[in-house]
Symmetry: C2
Subunit: 403 residues, 2 copies
């Protein structure tokens, strides 16, 4: 059901990072479901994590352990969330098991889990998986790791990029998983990005935050925020100048080099949204500030009535007006509002545009991808979010998730 | 698809109010789609209306004309919303046509519309419908009016009640329509309640607001708020003492008498929710204030993942935790949270309860109706909202609404 989702293509190795995946059998059978990343000394990890009050034990631990780090372990199928003390102990034990195997300190290993909430981890499977994954770990393990972290994703989503900092070539490889319970609030479900750039611990979290703000924090599939959302950057420090301040040209080059990669990963997440048949960009211009543009964009993107109209390809544009009208924007004047679907203007001054003809809007809505553009006519701020539609398949996937 | 929706039963006439319905053909064919209420002199109308920024022209007009009033006209199939100046002119012309026919002032007639947004009213059909409905208007027209205002409703929803004020018998008959685009914000789509009580204009709006706050403002089907939500009370003043202050025992008796009626109408709206197969009450206790209890309740009630799990009867209770976790409650401590489905405790102290067995929760979720109870463990406030599930049928109804 994915909408124009590109395949992974060639993934570039990152000097200083080995990756391994395994069939641990934590929940799934006969598929990769566990991945490890082993980082050489002097590596740095920065991250940004879900704002849910029910942060899962691995998230609590990973957030605490950002900075200098030596390994990451991620499993799919069981989120180790809402598991309390035992969940914390299990996440710690997984890290210790991996730390002992590679000769690192426990606190230098970060855990990640995704899958069903409210069940305890199968620790025997975790240990077996870590052993197997370490056996397979090598520079070219990224594609297998991208497969291992999938849950309801239809395809693995990963890419590589190269850019320069101060004339030195930097390489990065990133991946994301997640296609439901997706309205990232600081980060998407699980996204990992490795680079050989040299990033000080103090800078790494800020980098992850800024990148998430421009990518994962602008997408929504169903408005639901996971307990396990995490986006982490691993930097092996094998290339480029040491970046120890966010107020440097090297930091800006790094941000500019990584931004198109994370934006593409975020877009792919929506393309692979549960039951998605459309990839829609909601663009809101003319707001007083970015916050109110986002409020309008998300209210449209989360409306079940808008999403079912998008699924049906029905230019029932009153539903867009309804959603704009219920967005929490103070003193919105409907008579200043305009609405476009790609190049077709539907509404002007809050009512149907004189030039509007329904077949033109219907033709846009037949496209796999299009832009819903709203002009609020009250300021200069703009924002955009990406979303998918609400299809029979979304209901089917989520009604049958555990069976 | 409605969930245990009671039939209308016998509707009592209200002295001083005549009701008529007609096949106007505004949009639908071969069904009643227009209703008028004709009130004797000295009647009062109070109302509460949508908070949408895109308030439809009839809503703007009706809100302005609450007070002393002589007639109401409502049509289904076309909401006369996002229609600008012409929409206002059409709503005013409909009122004038009815006012002239009954010898009242234009401003004593209130208009209501529900249906597709963004199209102009067929005024010839409106005039034809008003003529026909006036011809049929009589004391027993309530049931036909309840049918005439339906859109995607599967059944008409109306009831009557009797109670006493100061030893005098008061009679009331009410109706509601609406089964999608339902998260009332001050009132549901269209609800009309007539009574022979004697209510001063100054009190009528406050009464409507208090009743809505206890009924229509506590339900959600899909989280979408209509441009046309209206709840109005017509009081003919034929019985009971004159109620001119909200600070009187007669007002309190009136409120107490009408409250169970509007709560029942609100519940029926959810039972007839688009595609509904379940009627679920979300009860949140132990909050610091009512607002945060409502935030948690609505976050659960609006979560597509919770709603699909309810549809599937799948006790995937992590989804409830996910929704509680993303609710906008400051400093929520998950380790104090408990979760129940009817009598079955699922979570205690933020994780799975020691006594929990999944088949027990699955058995509750097989029921047509049950209560999801959340204990926040941080205060004494409580709230509850009613909601339905997200089924294939919801997608079907809304993907095919205009075809």
């Amino acid at each position: 059901m994915a909408v124009n989702l590109p395949s992974m293509g060639e993934l570039l190795p990152i000097e200083g990072i080995r990756v391994g995946a395994a069939e641990a059998g934590v929940r799934y059978r006969d598929r990769l479901d566990l991945a490890v990343w082993v980082l050489e000394e002097d590596s740095t990890v920065g991250g940004v994590f879900t704002q849910s009050a029910f942060r899962a034990p691995p998230v609590l631990l990973a957030a605490e352990r950002c900075g200098a780090a030596r390994a990451l372990v991620a499993n799919a199928g069981n989120a180790n969330a809402a598991t309390g003390e035992r969940g914390i102990a299990d996440a710690m034990a997984s890290c210790k098991y991996l730390a002992d195997a590679i000769g690192a300190a426990d606190t230098e290993v970060l855990p990640f889990s995704t899958g069903v909430i409210g069940e305890f981890l199968d620790m025997e499977a975790m240990r077996r998986g870590i052993d197997l994954a370490l056996n397979h770990a090598n520079a070219d393990g990224w594609a297998d790791a991208a497969r291992a972290i999938m849950t309801t994703d239809t395809e693995p989503k990963a890419l590589s990029g190269r850019f320069e900092i101060d004339g030195t070539q930097i390489t990065a490889t990133g991946m994301v998983k997640g296609s439901g319970m997706i309205r990232p609030d600081m980060a998407t479900m699980l996204a990992f990005l490795g680079t050989d750039a040299t990033i000080a611990p103090a800078v790494a979290n800020q980098l992850a935050r800024e990148l998430a703000e421009r990518s994962f924090n602008r997408l929504t599939i169903d408005g639901d925020t996971s307990t396990n959302d995490s986006f982490v950057i691993m930097a092996s420090g094998k290339a480029g100048p040491a970046i120890s301040s966010t107020d440097s040209s090297a930091y800006r080059d790094l941000l500019a080099g990584l931004e198109p990669m994370v934006v593409e990963l975020a877009e792919r997440t929506v393309r692979d949204g549960e039951g998605a048949t459309k990839f829609v960009t909601i663009e809101v211009n003319g707001g007083r500030d970015a916050a109110e543009c986002l409020d309008v964009a998300y209210t449209i993107a989360h409306s079940p009535l808008v999403k079912t109209a998008i699924f049906a390809g029905d230019p029932n544009w009153g539903r867009f007006c309804m959603a704009i009208g219920r967005a929490p924007v103070v003193d919105l004047d409907p008579s200043k509002v305009a609405l476009f679907l790609d190049e077709v203007q539907i509404a002007a001054d809050g009512l149907v545009a004189p030039t509007y003809e329904e077949p033109k809007a219907a033709a846009v809505m037949e496209r796999d991808e299009y832009v819903v553009r709203v002009e609020l006519g009250r300021g200069d701020a703009s924002e955009r979010v990406w979303t998918s539609d609400l299809s029979y398949e979304y209901v089917k996937i989520n009604a049958e998730y555990r069976t």
